[in-house]
Every structure is written in C-alpha cells, then in structure tokens.
Symmetry: C2
Subunit: 206 residues, 2 copies
C-alpha cells in the first residue's frame, strides 16, 4: 500500500489530493516541520533529501512532486488524471508542473528558506523583499498564458490542478495581490469545493 509522507502547508498537498482523486489505497504520514522531523535520521532513511513529499510504494520510495503526480496518473489510468496516450499533451502537463516546481515554488522558497542559498541575514532579508515580485511574475505568466480554464489544461482535470491549487495557498503570504490574478484565484476557489480537496485539507489540518 502507498504511504505518503507530508507536512501540512507543504507542496505534498498536491500528491495527497491526487491520491484521493485516483481512488488509491494509501495512508498519509505527517512529518512535523516544527520538530524538524524531515532532517532527522528516521526520515532521512526514507528521503535523504530531507524534504516532503516522499511516497513509499511496494517498489520503493519516490520523491519530487512532478514525478509523483505523473506516477499516480500512470498507475491509476481509470482516474484519467493526465493525457497518457498523447506524448505532446502529456509533455504540456509535465511542463506546467515543472514550472511550478522549479520556478514558482523556488521563488516562493526565498521567503522562508533563504538559508539554502546564502549564509547571512541581510541576504535573506533581501530575498524576502523580492518574493512578491518574483512569485507575482510567475502568477502573471500563469494567468496570461498557462491556465486555460476552467482547469489548467482546459476542459479536463489533470494532475496540474492540485499542484496549482497547492502553491496558490501561499499567494497572500507571498505578498501577491490576488485581485491581479482572477483566473488563478477562481481556480483556487473551485478546487477548494471539490470533495477530494475538502477531505484532504480536513485530514491535513485535523
């Protein structure tokens, strides 16, 4: 059975929602960032990167949200979470998720995790100041060019939707004015009303 390691408020939410969407038989294991469990030996055996999510399967551990999401889509094809038979459309899904992972999430991480890329507090403060601009630029691009509507890829719900919903939890805290990205905020609202999302959020915040 699949076991998903997550922390509330983290990007693991995307994989958690996708497992629920897929109808997977899984359990979710909470890792406490407050207690820094992600950096301690019991968890580092599971994921030496010291991050969440990590997903234990019968075959071994998987990490990296875009990889986990594509795995869920491929392993539960009846849930139709990605265009599995169309390499170009599948690549568009992956390109969106890579952009969230490597550009938007990275820009966001400069608000709280500046220590990954610099050692002094002045640099961390400088990074924090730019987050509204750098994260905002990502959302401007998503709003204008990437979010087709009603779902990210258009008419069909895919693994892009829970990922956008996940990072969109951080819009206000990142200092981005939600009024400037109405399509993104509308997507977030519709997503929040889906039963799978409500169930997962209730579990993560219980």
């Amino acid at each position: 059975m699949i076991k998903l390691y997550y922390a509330p408020g983290s990007s693991a939410l995307a994989s958690h929602i996708a497992l629920e969407d897929a109808g997977a038989d899984y359990s979710a294991v909470r890792i406490s960032f407050a207690a820094e469990e992600q950096k301690k030996p019991p968890y580092l055996v599971i994921n030496p990167k010291g991050r969440v999510p990590a997903m234990a399967t019968d075959r071994g551990i998987l990490t990296e949200t875009p990889a986990i999401l594509a795995y869920i889509a491929q392993s539960y094809p009846q849930a139709r979470l990605a265009p599995l038979d169309d390499p170009f459309a599948f690549a568009e899904v992956q390109a969106f998720n890579c952009y969230i992972c490597a550009t938007l999430h990275v820009a966001h991480a400069h608000r709280m995790r500046g220590h990954r890329w610099a050692d002094d507090e002045a640099a961390w403060a400088s990074m924090q100041r730019k987050v509204p601009q750098s994260v905002g630029a990502c959302y401007d691009l998503i709003e204008r060019d990437m979010l087709k509507g009603p779902f990210v890829m258009g008419e069909h719900y895919t693994i892009c939707d829970p990922y956008l919903f996940t990072v969109a939890q951080w819009i206000e805290a990142d200092g981005v004015d939600p009024a400037r990205i109405p399509k993104v905020v509308g997507h977030r609202k519709r997503m929040s009303e889906r039963p799978s999302v409500r169930k997962v959020l209730a579990q993560e915040h219980a």
Copy 2:
C-alpha cells in the same frame, strides 16, 4: 520537423543530446545570451518565459527540460531512452531529472542569476559565495545515493544521462572539487566520448 532553441553552455544541451540519441529529424537554432535574444520579442513569442530550451513541434511549443526529455523518450520509443512501460521506473527517471532541474540547477543559478531572487549586489555576492556548498551538496547526494552506474539508472542509458552530463559541465566553475565526486566525473568523461555527445558539442561550439 522539430526545432530546438538552445544557447551554448545552457541546460538546452540535454535536450539537444537526447534528440541526437533518438535519431530525431530536427534542427537546432542558436539563441545568443550575449545579445540577450532570449528576452527580446521574436523569441518571447516562442517562449514567453525568456529561457532556453524551447522545442517547436508540429503540435506547438514545449519548454522545461524534464518535460522535453520525457517527450523525446515517448516520441521515439525505439531509441529506448526511458522505461516507458514501467510507471515506477519511469517515475525514478523523472524524479532524478526534477532534482537536477529544481534543486541542482537552481543552486547553480545563484552564481550568475542572483537578480532573479534579490535586487542588491551584496545579496548577489552572498549567494555566489554559497554556490560551492549548495551545488556541492547536490553532487554529494547524487554521488552517494542517485548515480547507480555506469549510467544514472544503472545498466541502461536514459534521458537522465544527458541531463547529468549537461549540469556537470559547470562543476569546476561552480567551485566544486571534482575529486570529491569521482562517480559523477567518471560519468561525465564516458558521456563525453559518446558519438552523439561529440557531435552536439561540436555543433554548439562551432
């Protein structure tokens, strides 16, 4: 026909090598970073992110290296560049490529592209100072846990190999001592002797 937009010395090298490995019918279009062509309107029509690589196909444009690499593997299955019939093994390939994209390449980018995440020179200098450590930590993890050998995924060459080779071009400039990562450096050397790699490097540096 496929058209790959690249800049010499950029991460586009990975997709370029993979196209050659696949035996694809493609052309490569050089974008000059020195002339900042990637930020000018003719290119922004192709890729509004203002980055390389971008790959034009009959269906449209694709971006993001992990997505492009998986697309090449799926579109040229006879080249056997990924375990396409095994979702878990395919996810391992994708997880490796996501780590290169979102962690290693991002750490590397703090040496030259600090302006993405801060506005003052002191912060840029602080970021640059940490690159040997942050990039080095990525290579330590790859050396210890991820590069199975002789290829990244073990006995079979995959789309992970040109990607690791691509970022490994920057090891010395990033201030990482190659002596501490002999498996990575051995992989780089073996890759550099492959005909597809030699051909692409000769073309990019002509």
